[in-house]
């Protein structure tokens, strides 16, 4: 099978219930800047990855494995993979 190139975005967010000091600080900073009506802010990370794989499915599986092994700390984070 010929390898193809894929662009993917991996999104890593804090699990529900895990305290998010950065999100909280951002929320309060928005408040002091005068933005009203901000109920909550949660901060997360994305990874835009260019990779080659034999198929879209293969790319997705590879990325999921990367998340499990490195990109996310599954003790506190969830992840989501979208391959274009």
């Amino acid at each position: 099978m010929a390898a193809k190139s894929f662009s993917a975005r991996v999104t890593v967010t804090l699990k529900r219930g895990v305290l998010d000091p950065q999100g909280k600080a951002t929320q309060s900073a928005l408040g002091s800047l005068g933005f009203e009506g901000v109920g909550s802010v949660r901060q997360g990370k994305i990874f835009d990855v260019e990779l080659t794989a034999s198929s879209k499915k293969g790319a997705k599986e590879a990325l999921e494995s990367m998340c499990e092994k490195l990109l996310a700390n599954t003790v506190i984070e969830d992840y989501d993979v979208v391959v274009e």
């Binding site: 490195l70 700390n73 003790v75 506190i76």
Partner: protein
């Protein structure tokens, strides 16, 4: 007993740690490199502070997956003592050798200051030279020292005496849950802590409270001068 310091690219309190171990043990420790797959024969493995791999992904995350960490895990399994300080603590949690995670400080800023620690469990090879609930002072210097664990894990830590040190008298510098500054694994042979006992070894450090930790961990009987 012989110590071994594991070096990662970006470790930067390694020289402090080596000096501390040398001063306490009377001989320099072995050194291991993150790409090594085996460790020299030793009784205490130390992961020093720093910003391994820049701490760019998450603190300690990339280092935790280095080849040498398999050897560290295997040694820990055998009962070899493992100490992770600051970045070393972060690496141990990322590697799953200790539970929980170290998140961004609640104040969001790097903080370098002196804190007070209470010895929460002195019945352990690392803390045996402290008195139970003794208060010592110790410097911290970190950006991600906010200890977090889920409720279940936290209960296990508390119920089983796995909390080694707590920030005392309102000196918690980072928002850690239950003021946790350091924890043991279930077997008690792995200790991770954010404060820097290696910077508290000789009178010039403005205190020597850190010495006893290394003396205990290395079974040094005499208190060196």
């Amino acid at each position: 007993m012989k110590a071994c310091v594991v070096l990662f690219p970006g470790s930067n309190r390694d020289r402090d740690m080596i000096a501390a171990l040398t001063s306490v043990a009377g001989e320099p420790p072995h050194l291991a490199w993150h790409k090594d797959t085996a460790l020299p024969d030793c009784d205490l493995i130390v992961l020093p502070g720093g910003f391994s791999h820049g701490d760019y992904l998450r603190s300690g995350a990339i280092a935790a997956r280095a080849p040498v960490m398999n050897a560290v895990a295997e040694a820990a399994q055998r009962g070899v003592r493992v100490l992770g300080v600051c970045n070393g603590f972060q690496i141990l949690t990322e590697a799953g050798l200790l539970p929980g995670a170290l998140m961004r400080n609640a104040g969001l800023k790097f903080v370098c200051c002196e804190v007070l620690l209470s010895v929460a469990n002195a019945d352990n090879p690392f803390t045996a030279k402290y008195a139970q609930d003794e208060i010592i002072h110790c410097p911290v210097a970190h950006h991600d020292g906010n200890y977090f664990a889920d409720t279940k894990t936290l209960k296990r830590l508390e119920d089983n005496g796995l909390v080694a040190f707590r920030y005392a008298q309102d000196t918690n510098p980072n928002g850690s849950v239950n003021d946790i500054a350091g924890i043991f694994n279930d077997e008690g042979n792995v200790l991770g802590m954010m404060p820097h006992p290696e910077n508290l070894i000789e009178p010039a450090h403005d205190g020597t409270d850190g010495r006893r930790l290394f003396e205990a961990a290395l079974n040094v009987v005499e208190m060196a001068a």
